[in-house]
Amino acid sequence: MNEDVILRSLILNADSSADIETQHKLITGMVDLIVKGIEVDMEEFELLVEDIVGNRAVSVRKAKKLLEQTGAFLITNGLWKYNNNFMFHKQMVKWDQFTELFIVGDKANAADPLSVDKERDSIIKGINWTIHVSELAENSKDIGGLPAFFSCNDSDDQIIGYNVAGTSTSDAMSLLCQSTEYLRECGKEAEEIVKCLTFLLNKVIACQCVASGWDRGGFFPLEDQPESDHPTVDATCLAVMALCSLYEQRHMIEDEFCDNFKTGYKDVEQAVLEGLGFLFRMQLSDGSFGIYKYEDGREGASNENCTRIVQSTMGVCKGSGVFDSTERFDLYPACSKIISDTYNYLCSHTAESQEYQIWAPYFGAKAQDYNIEDVIVSTARVCRSFIPVWWQCEDERENIVKYCYDFLHYWQDNEKRVINKVGSYRFNSPTANGFSAGEYFWPSHPDILAAYTVLQAYNIFGLALTKEEWALIERTVQRTLKIQHPHGHWDNPLAEKTPFCAVTLAAIELLQEYRKAKGVS
């Protein structure tokens, strides 16, 4: 048995199992507070007791007694402190050693001690989780794809609800298709992987509007935006990019896993082409993109997220090979024009912020009017969409590098302000009667998105990074690893134990880009 487990269980010396559990929670809570630098006076201790007891009616007096009983903590001058003379079986247990025993999360996530590639292990865990929840969805038979929400229990994760989330399904497919080099190593049978990809592919395509008319070709967000009666730009872009990703990897999938994965790809090609058709109709009169544009001309507010994601999608489609296979060579210049339009719009709608050129939500004019974490999310997403511009307009490369440097330095200046903050992209949905009053939002970790963008710029644009800038990336990568749940997913940043596909995809993308940057991928 693990020595740490034995040592931990011996330190917890209460008489009943319920009291032992309380001791464990108290110690873990105290360690967490002290590690964060919080002074634990009696009031702080009282709040800790309230926080951990749940339905158990434990008095503060009893909790104090239980904690003192362990011998690990004592009160000095009104503050709880670790007992530096804490001895256990005639041996001094130093603070560092003690925290190793009781810090939650790190232990659970500890990789195989023989493995030195934590990032790789983390990616594979994430992939396995994605395959697992896809199987759950497939086996439930009454949900047509992945839901927006999952619940995470100690033993397993479960699906919540019965409504499909279009973007969740697309994100899962993108995650797997972008991770094909890791699929080989994830320990799953080829048949299982193929079944999963087939399921996700079918469900992504099922979210597409097939009715003839204005909305044809667009992809519905469904549960992601329950009020939406129309397909949306963002859901369509995510679906089209996921389909292109699979299309690009089809030969690899066939070679590695299954010769006859699909008998043909006409359905994928058609879905991509129709999706593009929808996106072309969604362009706003000023060249940018919002969440939707009605047939009668009503336009959603132009926003940086939709504009940049369309820009990315155009580039991905151009590079996918679909246009060549279908002999739709006319779509190359059409996509290129959109890329030019969106890039021009982005360049002329930066936000004012000291010496940096960055982007605020909804093309706000002044960065100071927005939460810093939201500005970082907006700018990170815009900068990562410059790849198609890089390849299409060589003259713009110097500017692209400058944008990326500006972003990096803005993030660096504000690093401490965004740690543990949650970025939000907020939007209204296109209902049958107009844009919804209610807002929906995508929560995200700003630092994870930022680090990915910087690493992508390093890998593709040749952005040079100083030692301090690398240290910033390393810190973010370590934090990303730390917050991965033992089941393999990353949670909705707003709530623990709520697995979230989008955040899992973002984390895995970061770790993959990091490994590329390090030359191990």
Partner: protein, 350 residues
């Protein structure tokens, strides 16, 4: 038809009491009108106070007002907290727009942070001329705390949870998260016994009843396989399930024998004097509850009674404090008397 399986699978969404599942907003029209008017009329340095019990939807209301653009706060603004402002007043300078929002001014925060937070806020408003909306529980009614804030307006309208309100919220939630499974003529009484809805929203408890209290109870019972099996039977939540669940104390883990003893005495008292909660018009003082304990044969010192029995029962949400939290004798009394029985306690004695 909604089956047990359907309900179990969607219970976290339907009965959510956090922002996690983006549940739709419902009701509170009067609150919104008052809030819109008062916020629009706030002068430089003025503060709108929203002081209501925990878990009643204050933050949800403010977020909704922002999303609807009914108050002049930029969309997407996240709120400051008393603790954050106390630790780093500079944060207020980064807040966008003219109206700051300070949340969590409540018993979950150290008193020192509440006091410093409010003092820093007032100083900043004096310097900057900005305005603020402060959201918290009854701690904001404590004169020692509220006197830190000079020019206050109070939001008076805040629709409390009564039968119609709860019914409307539940109906909307089911329509939002389970519409594919509803019959055309669905009404909430198809899934929840009307008697249960009544008991979850007693009139005498309006002042302190919370969505968090009601929905956490609904989730607990639905998630318990003993009461709602994972099968294709028609889902129907009955009062008897809740009574049985709560009487069995399955979710309860009292610490001391004497707490169980007192709880039994209290249950008997409620059962005999206030059957089904009828007649409860005010909360019980510590003296009254202590007398009850002594009459029941519990031998305990007065101070120990409060510390070892009453307050832990309040933390375990068997008793609900209706008093104003206050700082006294170097201690923040977070859950002062009077106390009323919580839904959990009351439903277990019916």
């Amino acid at each position: 038809m909604i089956t047990n399986k359907d309900l179990k699978r969607c219970s976290q969404q339907v009965f959510t009491y956090s922002a996690q599942y983006q549940a739709p907003f419902y009701g509170r029209e009067k609150s919104m009108i008052e809030m819109e008017n008062k916020t629009a009329k706030l002068n430089s340095g003025e503060i709108l106070i929203i002081s209501q019990p925990l878990g009643t939807g204050k933050t949800f209301l403010v977020n909704h007002m922002i999303a609807e653009e009914r108050i002049g706060v930029p969309r997407g603004s996240s709120f400051l907290t008393a603790k954050a402002v106390a630790g780093n007043p500079e944060l207020m300078k980064q807040y966008p727009g003219d109206i700051l929002i300070i949340d969590e001014v409540d018993i979950k925060t150290k008193y020192e942070n509440l006091l410093n937070g409010m003092n820093h806020l007032q100083e900043y408003l004096d310097d900057s001329g900005k305005k603020a909306i402060v959201i918290g529980d009854f701690s904001l009614k404590d004169p020692k705390l509220s006197s830190c804030l000079r020019d206050q307006q109070t939001l008076y309208e805040f629709e409390q949870i009564d039968r119609d309100f709860l019914r409307g919220v539940l109906n909307q939630r089911f329509q939002t998260f389970m519409k594919e499974y509803l019959d055309a003529d669905f009404c909430i009484e198809n899934v929840i016994d009307p008697e249960l809805i009544d008991y979850l929203s007693p009139a005498w408890m309006k002042m302190v009843n919370s969505f968090r209290g009601v929905f956490s109870l609904l989730q607990s019972v639905v998630n318990n396989d003993k009461y709602i099996r994972y099968n294709n039977d028609k889902a129907y939540l009955e009062f008897s399930m809740f009574k049985e669940y709560l009487a069995a104390d399955e979710d309860l883990d009292l610490d001391e024998e004497v707490q169980y003893e007192f709880l039994q005495i209290l249950r008997e008292y409620l059962r005999s004097e206030f059957p089904k909660g009828a007649g409860i018009t005010r909360g019980f003082t510590v003296d009254e509850l202590y007398q009850l304990a002594q009459m029941g044969g519990i031998d305990i010192e007065y101070d120990n009674f409060a510390d070892d029995i009453l307050y832990p029962l309040a933390i375990a949400e068997l008793l609900i404090s209706t008093g104003i939290p206050t700082y006294d004798n170097n201690q923040f009394i977070r859950r002062p008397a009077p106390f009323v029985p919580s839904l959990k306690l009351l439903l277990s004695v019916f």
